[in-house]
């Protein structure tokens, strides 16, 4: 296993139980100028099978950030244009959450929330008072159903999402979008096809289709299309653009601005704090069922008139619960009494890790590595990405803020941690084909059309102009639905 996954073996997501969900590093290598952990799923459904399911709306705090601070380029869209598309995808995917009325984390069309447990509820109440409503601990908003949807069952609280849910209780392509597409009667699903390039016609300045090779037989096949959507995950869409139309643009289709492959971002995390809920009257409280989420604590830094020595901010994901048998490792005891004690729940504990926004930086880039080929003979991507001073400064607050909040709410034995972070670990790759208002400084326009080929749309994380600090998938879904609606309109108007 280590031979096939030299990169993925570095961290927790890879495991034997869902091994078939992960792309092989050996067949599909890449080049790391600096360490970059790239988690890929090349099966039907891709990473929608393994994702963390946290689903949050962006706000204008995020869409306006670049313009306000003079960083990178401005987003060509604002929250008001996105809101109806967030509504649409939340209803379709099935996102649960609570209505909180927070400006920095807009409410949505949610199914009923998976509530905070009594330990979290206690801390949440104290925090709300202590910080005047500015720091709020709310139920994590996740793409797990709490009400049935057609063909899908509500979550049964097994907490076994990473196996691929047999009930379709969390959003994945398999549970949600593929069945909807199949119902149209116009879906053809072609597994084991690797799109090697987008075919471009220099006379019409349009793409005419894609060339694909069969992953098993290596046979190539051309597919013609009037409109092409690239939604292959951030680095894969950009990699494909780089392999396309190189006779017209040596840097690939969409490279005329010089920005294709640049401004790679992720969320930096694995820093936070934890402690024990001792003496807080919870000893006679427990919970039933395995909730597949925890709490979320939305961004509060560089907000409410405050200014830190870094830009942007972070949110926390965490949870409280009673210790299980694992506490026995650190406790004194062997023998009968010890064994029976370890079979009962222990102390309540609480902990959280921050997810911090990473700044767009032209120097963080991917290029083609012509010296290395994958199993199918394609030049691989070379990734050169690192965090900078802003992230470094933010990480202090990511640890100390949570420690302070826990201490102030009465949590005992608070400990901070920073388990270290390398780009890619967040599995929130964004950027490299950014959206903008100007074809000279961006790769796609406000409708996700590649400036250099308007019938090619890039709607995954590649198009992100900045990263926010919230989990990005819901925004990709909303952007994709919005772009698809636009494409249909344009086709009907014969503009494409």
């Amino acid at each position: 296993m280590e031979e096939l996954y030299p990169v993925l073996k570095r961290d927790y997501p890879l495991n034997e139980k869902n091994l078939s969900f992960w792309a092989s590093d050996k067949d599909s290598p890449y080049t790391e100028v600096k360490r970059f952990d790239w988690y890929r799923g090349y099966q039907v459904g891709g990473r929608s099978l393994m994702w963390g399911r946290h689903s949050y709306r962006w706000s204008d705090l995020d869409f306006e950030a670049n313009a306000r601070e003079g960083v990178a380029v401005d987003w060509p869209i604002r929250y008001a244009e996105m809101a109806p598309w967030y509504d649409h995808v939340e209803r379709h995917a099935g996102i649960n959450g609570s209505l909180e009325g927070l400006a920095q984390l807009p409410d949505g069309k949610f199914q009923p929330a998976m509530p905070l447990n009594c330990g979290e509820e206690l801390v949440a109440g104290k925090l709300k008072t202590l910080f005047d409503g500015k720091r709020r601990m709310i139920p994590g908003r996740v793409a797990n159903l709490t009400r049935d949807l057609p063909g899908r069952s509500a979550c049964q609280y097994r907490n076994a999402c990473w196996l691929g849910c047999p009930l379709g209780a969390y959003f994945s392509s398999q549970s949600s979008t593929l069945p909807a597409a199949a119902k149209t009667g116009r879906l053809t699903l072609k597994p084991f096809q690797i799109v090697s390039e987008v075919i471009y016609d220099r006379n019409t300045r349009r793409a005419t289709g894609v060339r694909a090779l069969d992953a098993v037989s290596s046979e190539t096949m051309d597919y013609k299309a009037r409109v092409i959507f690239l939604c292959a995950s951030t680095l894969n869409s950009t990699w494909l653009l780089m392999r396309s139309a190189t006779d017209v643009w040596p840097g690939g289709l969409g490279s005329s601005s010089g920005e294709l492959g640049h401004n790679l971002m992720d969320h930096h995390f694995r820093a936070g704090a934890e402690g024990k809920l001792e003496g807080m009257g919870l000893e006679d409280k427990y919970y039933y069922g395995r909730r597949p989420t925890g709490f979320y604590l939305p961004r509060y830094r560089n907000l409410f008139g405050e200014k830190r020595d870094y830009l942007r901010g972070f949110g926390y994901q965490g949870g409280a619960g009673r210790q299980g048998w694992a506490r026995g490792v650190a406790e004194l005891g062997v023998g009968a009494e010890f064994k029976d004690a370890m079979a009962t729940p222990g102390q309540w504990t609480i902990g959280a890790t921050a997810f911090g926004e990473m700044m767009p930086n032209h120097a963080n880039s991917v290029t083609l590595d012509q010296t290395k080929k994958d199993k199918w003979g394609m030049p691989v991507v070379k990734i050169d990405c690192a965090t900078g001073e802003n992230e470094r400064l933010m990480r202090r607050d990511m640890m100390t803020d949570m420690a302070e909040m826990l201490e102030q709410t009465g949590v005992k034995k608070v400990r901070i941690f920073d388990n270290g972070y390398f780009p890619g670990m967040g599995i929130h790759e964004m950027g490299t084909a950014r959206m903008g208002r100007d074809p000279k400084t961006s790769v796609v326009n406000s409708h996700n059309q590649v400036w250099d080929a308007p019938n090619v749309f890039v709607t995954d994380g590649s198009c992100m102009t900045s990263a926010s600090c919230v989990n990005p998938s819901l925004t990709y879904m909303a952007l994709t639905a919005r772009a698809a609606d636009f494409a249909v309109d344009e086709l009907n108007r014969r503009n494409l």
Partner: protein, 234 residues
């Protein structure tokens, strides 16, 4: 799957159990396990050690049974915890930790000889328990000292960070706070016994309460002391 997993002679059921285990531990916010990531992925450096013999596995069974004996529920031996411990050490421990563990088996036997003039396997249950109680205090003292050092470092770091006038404090120093020094052999054995037993079918369904499909989530229910834990998804 690695070569070692197909040739190690352990049942597939045991092998497939492993990853859930680390996940369980992580979810419980529990301990940093020896062999951490490697345990999860089945990845390790090349292991040319002599495989654990049936006698050694029987020895580990008795160590585990002494830590987690049969009470109103079956003990560690019934859950084949010794074989589990051998599997994890073989497949997931690095060379240095494997050495500590294997030498620890010898040290444990010597400690029994010193105290009771008898090998661990020949010792009576009460003698075994007495030896392990001593070793447990030893590993606990070792662990407490390590925790105290960690806490001191963390507090110094926090204090430093809270001073507004602490520019240029290197945040990269932080990972050092959570780096663990080498571990005590009996801590390894206790850890693996707990891990093996409480994630076994017996440990989940008899020692604890297990429901594959709880069907609902109650965020707050009354708890009466003595009620068993709900086990994680296996």
């Amino acid at each position: 799957m690695t070569e070692s997993e197909t040739s190690s002679g352990y049942t597939p059921e045991m092998i497939s159990r492993r990853e859930a285990i680390v996940r369980v531990t992580a979810l419980l916010g529990g301990v940093a396990l020896v062999g951490g990531t490697a345990l999860l992925t089945g990845c390790r450096d090349a292991n040319t050690d002599v495989p654990f013999t049936p006698e050694e596995i029987a020895f580990l069974d008795e160590v585990a049974e002494t830590i987690l004996p049969q009470t109103s529920t079956p003990g560690a031996k019934a859950a084949k915890t010794g074989a589990f411990m051998a599997l994890i050490v073989t497949d997931s421990y690095n060379a240095a930790d494997r050495k500590i563990f294997r030498e620890g088996m010898r040290k444990l036997d010597e400690a029994t000889e010193d105290a009771h003039n008898v090998s661990f396997m020949a010792a009576a249950p009460a003698q075994r328990l007495a030896v392990l109680n001593v070793l447990d205090r030893e590993q606990k003292a070792w662990g407490d000292e390590r925790d105290a050092r960690t806490l001191t470092k963390a507090e110094a770091f926090l204090t430093n960070q809270r001073k507004e006038s602490a520019p240029g404090t290197d945040v990269s120093a932080a990972p050092a706070i959570t780096t663990d020094p080498p571990t005590h052999y009996f801590r390894m054995m206790k850890e693996l016994a707990l891990l093996g037993y409480f994630t076994s079918e017996i440990g989940c369904t008899q020692a604890q309460r297990y429901l594959e499909t709880p069907g609902r989530f109650d965020p707050c229910v009354p708890y009466t002391p003595g009620e068993k834990s709900w086990a994680a998804h296996a």
